[in-house]
């Protein structure tokens, strides 16, 4: 027994006791506050040894005096049956003569259990092994015993007698006081029953239950009705009101060492198995539904305090929520807090909440820097939506709103550009607004339509201009080049290069110049660059020669010559290309797709071009690379590309907006999901105006699909529609059109069919259609039938209503309907309006 280490928290908040061969008192220290010696128990706590008492006999059981608020008083039960009250050093108990006091039975035998009464704190109970002529449960009074001892030094006091006893020739294995009854104790006895001993009358037959589970009897600290005990590998939970049958039996895979109710949480039982480093927690749920008897459920949970060795004991902290201390066979201690399972939720508006401990919640909202650091697409989407992204009439302005995402901005610019090209007739023969390069080229695998012609360098003297370069021409190719932004017109092209140079894209400008066979221009551009390295490249370029055996060529085509700039790489790859094999240019992934495609359109034959564009399109789609829009345009491939982009980024906003702005009505069916998802997003963010604007834009793409009228007004007398009539009026047609012409403000207070008056405003009691006395300026509202304050509105529930301005005024002060005898609380029907968040 002495080899086994035990641990117990004391009633003093930060002190605990370990015992094995000796008793040690420890003080818990916070590591941050200058903790040096002692043992570390967790990342933040350690323990310092305060005192230690070697035990003279083999201690068998121990209990801490429940009212130890400063000094610790222990009752230790020994194998010889003695219970010795022990302290660590001098204490306040010394004056009462309590320390070193010994309580012992007449016949020495092992003491199995000792327990202080939690209410009547001077009482202590001991549970002993069997003796045929003595009781095994002995109740002592510590103070009365001691006073006897001091007052008269007689023999009686030398052997203080128990004030009560129970259980003749029975063995007591474990004992537990009830929390709210100072006279009642539960005892596990003689390997056959648990008895509830009432010390008010020990002669009366005790309530008992037949069971082998007599070990570790403990009373639920929150509920005196529940007891737990164990035997071998089974835990039993008892309800003392129905003691015959156990309430729950938990069968364990291994035999048990210890069970203990958690003092800070209801119905939570901790259990430790032999040869295990885990603590099992059982949350025992009982609920009575309409007095039905039904099986309580047990939530099983396992926690790993993190000990490398097997645990020998654990102890719950009395007051700290779910804190427990474990001790392992090698004496190492771990201070562990069982976290309450945290539940959490993430709201659409970036609020996040989680539970912390049992009774508090923590929440963070979108202003938290955490979300800024996350840089998540959802947050970007909301910011963009607020800025009117996608709603700008000029397509390129939408691009300006996403300038933090180059590829996205590029798409909008290209959409703008391609639309312009189609509109001004540069790109002909296409039905779509944003044709892709493949659309424009109309290539198919078999036909060759482009004419090849050989050309020479435009601005080089003939001496180093030996060879010719094959280019391909067709008007479709011209269109494609336009889409790529390669202007055909020399003057424009040179201006374009200047612009690039201004933007510090010298290498790209030079490469484009070379691809357009303007080597001298390229050299000029590189020469003007502020970058020294590019100046050097200009020199290298100047040495260009077509001679296949020249040193220049041999050197430049050497694969070991690496250049970090992709455009320079492409440029030299082009200059050193043999037999019109431009793979090194075409597969240079770091140069923009536009340039690669334009290059291909200039130098590749029809069949090769077709093949190249096809493979490039496939690649772009699989990468979800938005640059691929240039190739696909607004066709089905474009949808696939956007889908892939969406799959990768989650940016449904851009895909929805691009699809609505750029794709034909016939493809909108495919993108319905995106549109719905996006409008739903805007709705959850309460960006209703943005949503409405988006809907308007969306509807504009489908002019044939007019939204249906949402509300119909009919006369309450004849039942005929008034709204249809008003509708006609608005257009200046219909039977009563003459009424609309005479007055700029409509006045119609009677049904046009039966001439009965229309309903009244509940506030001013005027019929709807009658203008109220308040006149507005008229100019701003000239196009409307009635200005908003005179609109008719009504409660959705009681269907009373009136002029909106009157109704608004009324509900500023009331929540009930203004109509006499109507008790409808109209105001509270719609929570969004009633519960303003801003």
């Amino acid at each position: 027994m002495s080899g086994r280490l035990e641990v117990i928290w004391t009633p003093v908040h930060d002190k605990f006791i370990t015992w094995g061969s000796d008793f040690s008192l420890y003080q818990v220290e916070n590591i941050r506050e200058g903790f040096s010696a002692g043992c570390r128990m967790s990342s933040s706590t350690g323990a310092n040894l305060l005192a230690s008492t070697p035990s003279t006999y083999f201690a068998k059981c121990v209990d801490v005096y429940p009212q130890s608020d400063k000094d610790i008083l222990l009752a230790i039960g020994y194998t010889n049956g003695r219970i010795i009250l022990t302290t660590f050093g001098p204490t306040i108990y010394d004056s009462q003569g309590i320390p070193k006091k010994e309580l012992f039975p007449r016949y020495p035998r092992q003491c199995n259990a000792v327990a202080w009464n939690p209410i009547d704190v001077n009482k202590i109970i001991g549970g002993l092994d069997k003796h045929r002529s003595e009781h095994s449960v002995l109740l002592w009074d510590v103070v009365r015993g001691s006073s006897n001892y001091e007052s008269s030094n007689n023999r009686n006091a030398d052997h203080p007698r128990p004030i009560s006893e129970y259980g003749l020739s029975e063995t007591t294995y474990s004992l537990a006081w009830f929390q709210n009854n100072s006279k009642l104790v539960a005892a596990g006895m003689s390997l056959k029953n648990i008895k509830l001993i009432d010390f008010r009358d020990t002669t009366k037959a005790a309530t008992s239950t037949l069971t082998k589970a007599v070990y570790g009897v403990c009373v639920d600290p929150h509920n005196d009705h529940y007891l737990a005990s164990f035997h071998d590998s089974q835990i039993y939970v008892w309800d003392v009101r129905n003691f015959e049958k156990s309430m729950v039996c938990l069968t364990q895979p291994k035999s048990l060492m210890k069970i203990s109710w958690c003092p800070t949480k209801h119905n939570l039982l901790g259990a430790l198995h032999k040869e295990s480093s885990l603590i099992h927690l059982y949350d025992i749920q009982q609920s009575a539904v309409a007095n039905e008897d039904f099986e309580p459920s047990v939530l099983d949970r396992t926690v790993v305090p993190g000990s490398s060795k097997n645990l020998t004991s654990f102890s719950w902290h009395e007051t700290d929520e779910n804190r427990l201390l474990t001790i392992a066979s090698n004496g190492s201690l771990i201070d562990y807090t069982v976290f309450e399972s945290i539940t959490l939720n993430y709201a659409a508006n970036f609020n996040m909440v989680w539970t912390y401990g049992r009774k508090t919640m923590k929440c963070i909202n979108k202003s938290n820097e955490l979300f800024a650091n996350l840089d998540d697409v959802s947050y970007r989407m909301m910011e963009r939506a607020k800025n009117g992204y996608g709603l700008k009439d000029e397509l390129y302005k939408n691009g300006e709103l996403v300038d933090d995402d180059a590829a996205l901005a590029n798409v909008w610019n290209w959409l703008y550009y391609s639309e312009k090209l189609v509109a001004d007739g540069t790109v002909k023969n296409t039905n779509s607004k944003h044709p892709g390069v493949r659309d424009v080229l109309k290539l198919d695998a078999n036909a060759t339509k482009s004419e090849a012609h050989s050309t020479t360098w435009l601005d080089l003297p003939a001496t180093n201009n030996l060879g010719v370069i094959k280019q391909y021409n067709h008007e479709d190719r011209d269109c494609a080049l336009n889409l790529c932004g390669w202007h055909m017109d020399t003057e424009k092209f040179l201006k374009f290069l200047d612009r690039l140079a201004e933007k510090n894209a010298h290498s790209r400008a030079a490469a484009l110049a070379v691809f357009n066979l303007r080597l001298r221009t390229a050299i000029d551009i590189l020469h003007k660059s502020p970058d020294r390295n590019l100046n050097v490249v200009a020199m290298a370029l100047a040495g260009f020669t077509d001679d296949k055996n020249s040193m220049w060529r041999q050197f430049c085509s050497n694969p070991k010559v690496k250049m970090s700039d992709p455009y320079l790489r492409a440029m030299f790859a082009f200059l050193t290309a043999e037999n019109a094999n431009y793979d090194n240019v075409l597969n240079e992934n770091e140069i923009s797709v536009d340039d690669r495609v334009a290059f291909a359109c200039t130098f590749l034959s029809d069949s090769k071009l077709n093949e190249y564009l096809k493979s490039l399109t496939t690649k772009m789609i699989s990468e979800g690379n938005l640059d691929g829009m240039l190739l696909t345009g607004n066709n089905m491939d474009g949808i696939r590309l956007l889908q892939r982009y969406l799959d990768i980024t989650g940016d449904v906003q851009s895909t929805a907006l691009v699809s609505v702005r750029a794709f034909g009505a016939d493809l909108l069916q495919e993108t319905q999901d995106w549109v719905l998802s996006y409008t739903n997003l805007l709705d959850t963010w309460q960006l209703w105006h943005e949503r409405a604007l988006f809907d308007v834009m969306f509807q504009a793409q489908r002019p044939n699909d007019k939204p249906r009228q949402q509300v119909f007004v009919s006369c309450k007398f004849c039942g005929k529609s008034i709204s249809a009539y008003m509708h006609g009026l608005n257009r200046g047609r219909g039977t009563f059109s003459r009424m609309g012409v005479t007055a700029n403000k409509m006045k119609m207070s009677a049904c046009p069919h039966c001439r009965k008056p229309l309903t009244r405003c509940v506030i001013c009691l005027m019929h709807i259609g009658t203008t109220t006395g308040v006149q507005d300026n008229g100019d701003t509202e000239a196009n409307k039938l009635v200005d908003f304050s005179n609109w008719f509105t009504w409660c959705q529930t009681c269907r009373h209503g009136g002029h909106s301005s009157h109704i608004i005024n009324w509900f500023r002060e009331h929540s009930e309907c203004p109509v006499t005898a109507c008790t409808c609380r109209c105001f509270s029907v719609d929570t969004i309006s009633a519960n303003p968040t801003k």
């Binding site: 539940t343 919640m361 929440c363 959705q796 609380r825």
Partner: protein, 391 residues
């Protein structure tokens, strides 16, 4: 550094669930103390308790909001073997000029389960008002309110037997009828060595819910399961909280056999697996776009994971329970996970097996999408339509 606001929940026992409404302006909590509480955010900061009532006679496990177009409606489920639907109404005005107090009334009590009801979730709004519950005896029940105006009438439409004790469920939140209705269910059973996540789909042909997939790679008890908002993606993302965090992509495969059977075939791919929570993961919750996942676990931390590229998930933030950020830990996490990502994704192609037995109850009712203007909730729309006849 930032500060996490603290709310005193005023519950007497452990809070089991907290749910935001559609907009994130209202919050409902439920607890072992058998109470449900509703919180409103006044202004932009503070959360105020606006309602609190004893909802059940046992621990309340879950609480969930219906889409606001159905009104202010909550559903709860409890250990007392029932699920309930609650609606907020305005009480009697205490005096002239004063606003009536809001309170919640129980519209219905769903008592079909014989064991603890472990989860309850409203279906996507395009399906009307549907409610799915699952219980500890492994039965999933789908209820429907045929008349969205009358929340006290619910019919049990389907009962799906799952064999294992169910702990959590999630509807696929797809917004359109393009995808068939789909539900994922997790089991917390810790005895059977079988897959613990099941995917069910409603088959239009047979008008029954069919099991289309069992994710056999997850054998440990599942504590929470959550579909990410679909957002028009071509695949569905499912987060599973078990002994670790798993993110699973479910890609519908369109081939002949799936067209013939009318059931979706799914390509199941575990794209991420994070053991950062050491032991048990309790909850998983998605952000609005399904690009950030927040989880909580036995280590007492809230962890966030973000999708950087398709199938590439990284831990981004670790928050201690009290709201303190653990900076170093986040770094450590990313190293740990990069090895996690490198492991080849476990792929399995689904084959349909008919082991889920399904029972269809109640009236023969098929849902037709309501033909109403797009942004008027059908409920409101009905009222508008009726209202003009009476004024």
């Amino acid at each position: 550094m930032f500060e996490a606001a603290e709310i005193n929940a005023e519950h007497k026992d452990l809070i089991h669930d907290v749910a935001y409404d559609f907009y994130g302006n209202r919050m409902a909590t439920c607890s072992s103390d058998q109470y449900v509480k509703v919180w409103d955010q006044i202004g932009n900061e503070k959360w105020t308790l606006t309602s609190s009532w004893k909802a059940h006679s046992g621990s309340v496990w879950k609480v969930t909001w219906a889409h606001p177009e159905f009104g202010q409606v909550l559903a709860t489920c409890s250990f007392d073997r029932t699920a309930a639907v609650w609606e907020e109404i305005i009480g009697e005005t205490p005096g002239p000029g004063e606003r009536g107090t809001r309170h919640w009334v129980r519209r219905t009590n769903l008592v079909d389960s014989r064991t603890s009801v472990t989860d309850v979730k409203f279906g996507p709004k395009c399906l009307g008002l549907q409610l799915a519950t699952c219980s500890a005896d492994g039965i999933i029940r789908i209820y429907e309110a045929p008349d969205v105006m009358n929340l006290s009438q619910w019919t049990l439409q389907h009962e799906i037997t799952c064999k294992l004790s169910c702990s959590c469920l999630s509807w696929n939140p797809s917004l359109t009828n393009n995808h068939p209705q789909m539900i994922a269910v997790g089991s917390d059973d810790n005895t059977a060595q079988t897959g613990k996540v099941f995917i069910f789909e409603y088959s239009e042909n047979s008008r029954r819910w069919m099991k289309i997939e069992t994710i056999i790679t997850i054998m440990e008890p599942v504590h929470d399961i959550s579909f990410a908002p679909n957002l028009g993606r071509s695949y569905h993302i499912l987060a599973v909280a078990t002994k670790d965090v798993k993110i699973i992509n479910l890609t519908p495969i369109k081939d002949n056999s799936s067209i013939q059977s009318g059931l979706t075939k799914l390509d199941v791919q575990t794209v991420a697996q994070f053991t950062d929570h050491t032991c048990t993961v309790w909850r998983a919750s998605w952000n609005v776009t399904g690009t950030v996942l927040a989880t909580s676990g036995d280590d007492g931390c809230v962890r966030m994971f973000k999708m950087n590229y398709i199938n590439s998930w990284k831990p981004v933030t670790v928050l201690k329970g009290d709201g303190a950020v653990i900076p170093n830990d986040a770094h450590r996490g990313s190293i740990a996970s990069s090895t996690g990502v490198l492991t080849p994704p476990i792929t399995q192609t689904a084959s349909y097996n008919d082991s889920g037995s399904m029972v269809r109850n109640g009236v023969n009712y098929t849902l037709k999408p309501t033909n109403c203007p797009q942004h008027i909730p059908p409920r409101l729309f009905k009222r508008i339509r009726q209202s003009f006849n009476s004024i």
